[in-house]
């Protein structure tokens, strides 16, 4: 079969083939964007511009409220660590990144506390199972922050003090309310009533335990 040349019809009017009107239109579009963004940026009105760049270290986009991030250890009313060294979290942790060495407490009211509590953020897979497993609201991942970059691997292992430095007092009752909790919380709504908006990031049981 002989090689034929297929002549493709080029559509478009003479005006289109002149290019110039379309070029002027295109230049107008880009120039409009340039002027708008330039003036807005020069006068400090970034919100009036179309610029979508986020100047990262200075400007950060907030993580969503349910974001699982860097761990923290919550505190009791007296400022001590809330953790009772029950070993639930290192047991459930699929990455084996939690190391707890328990020790006996002095007062004996709560038997154990962690002597050593370390989390290797490089091993952590951010699954959130530790926070799910914790029976006493001691470990949380709600810092809305991510693990910081470090120069040495050992710097990524967070110790107890560092984890506690981000901690707050939990509003959950240490040790639970007890056997007769139904009577103690009588009159309190146990579940959010219809129409009550519970903040997405609120810890479990906020509504039930807030007056106790």
């Amino acid at each position: 079969m002989a090689i034929g040349v297929k002549i493709v019809a080029r559509p478009g009017s003479f005006q289109q083939q002149m290019y110039l009107p379309a070029i002027a239109e295109g230049l107008g579009v880009t120039f409009k964007h340039f002027i708008k963004n330039w003036f807005g940026n020069m006068t400090g009105n970034r919100d009036k511009t179309d610029i979508v760049t986020l100047a990262y270290p200075e400007e950060k986009r907030a993580y969503p409220e349910r974001h699982r991030g860097l761990h923290r250890l919550m505190l009791r009313d007296d400022g001590q660590v809330r953790c009772v060294a029950c070993m639930m979290c290192p047991t459930v942790c699929p990455a084996h990144c939690i190391t707890i060495v328990p020790e006996e407490t002095v007062d004996g009211r709560i038997e154990k506390r962690p002597k050593l509590f370390e989390i290797d953020e490089l091993r952590c897979v951010v699954c959130g199972l530790c926070a799910e497993a914790c029976p006493c609201d001691a470990i949380r991942m709600d810092t809305l922050d991510h693990a910081k970059p470090v120069y040495r691997r050992t710097d990524a292992i967070l110790d107890k003090e560092e984890l506690m430095s981000r901690g707050e007092k939990s509003i959950a009752t240490q040790g639970g309310v007890g056997a007769f909790w139904r009577e103690k919380v009588a009159g309190e709504p146990q579940t959010p009533a219809a129409g009550d908006v519970v903040p997405a990031g609120a810890p479990h049981g906020t509504v039930a335990t807030k007056t106790l």
Binding site: G26, L27, H33, N41
Partner: protein
Amino acid sequence: MDEFLASFTYGHAGFTAVSALIKIVFLMLALGPGIASILTWLERRQSAMMQDRLGPNRANIGPFKGWGIFHFLADALKFMFKEDFVPPRAHKFLFALAPVLALAPALIVAAIIPFGAPLCWGQVFEKVPLGACQQPVDLQIAHMDVGVLFYFAISSLSVYGATLAGWASYNKWALMGGMRASSQMMSYEVTMGMAVLAMFLLFGTLEPGAMVAQQGPWPWQWGIWGIPHFVSFVLFLTAAIAETKRTPFDIPEGEPEIIGYFVEYSGLRFGMFFLGEFIEIVFSSGLMVSIFLGGWHVPGEVWLALHLPNIAIVGMTFGFWLVKVFMFCSFQLLIRWSLPRFRSDQLMQLGWQRLLPVSIANVLFTAGWILYSSSK
């Protein structure tokens, strides 16, 4: 000895040589590369603003950020510290020569561009009406009657830089880039010459200084107004962008497919190609400002010259010229970041089948018009 010193007074060889040397150092070594360096930053910043981004704004000297204008210094520093790689089978001498051949013509064409009103030697602090100067020192390196033809002659030499770079690299892609560069630049020089031919007929001179002198200070007295003038302007601008090998005519560089004739270049050698391209933009803008946009003329300069010392007038005209050139460079960047690129065959089609007939028709029309209006 006295004779030697006397040769440095106005009108003698020594004075001419020294003043020319100062102008060369100022325009070719300081101003041209200076603006070109800033353009490398401006290109990135302006394109960012056009595309709803922020662009490079970080480089700083201590607390001075200046919207990131120091990025060009950082770029230069980076070029200096990069490895200077030469491909093992490259032609060593031509490989080294090519960047010089690309950069040098871009600088040399500055010789014909007038960049300010004449300085009145001996009366710099006096009020001198325009044109009444006894000892003028022109702010233009060379008065050549061939003028714009000199620009063509020199700027067409830069095709050797591109072609040799492509050939000496011993790289297929570079060679293709070099071939494309030579075919493109030769095609568009024809159009460029024809565009200037029409302006030559209209001005009656090829000397940019004389062209500027024929234009007036006010924007409506510039050389761009009129049908043949404007057609010439569009043709010249198109051809000039093609000569600088930038989008929409970046076929020789062809970043998406072949990297172009400088694919094997790194470090300062690549920097010379890069800077040469921007210097070409600056001085082609300078030439177009001289021919079409009134050169160094400042609105109201006749009145100002009667009330301000000569040195202030010279400074103002130079500043106004600089602003015009800078705006025009910025306009070229706008074009570069707005238009999609041509295909290689479309480029040839545009050059030979569209622009060349239009430019020839423009020349004929201009000639007929001048004949008609002079016979009346």
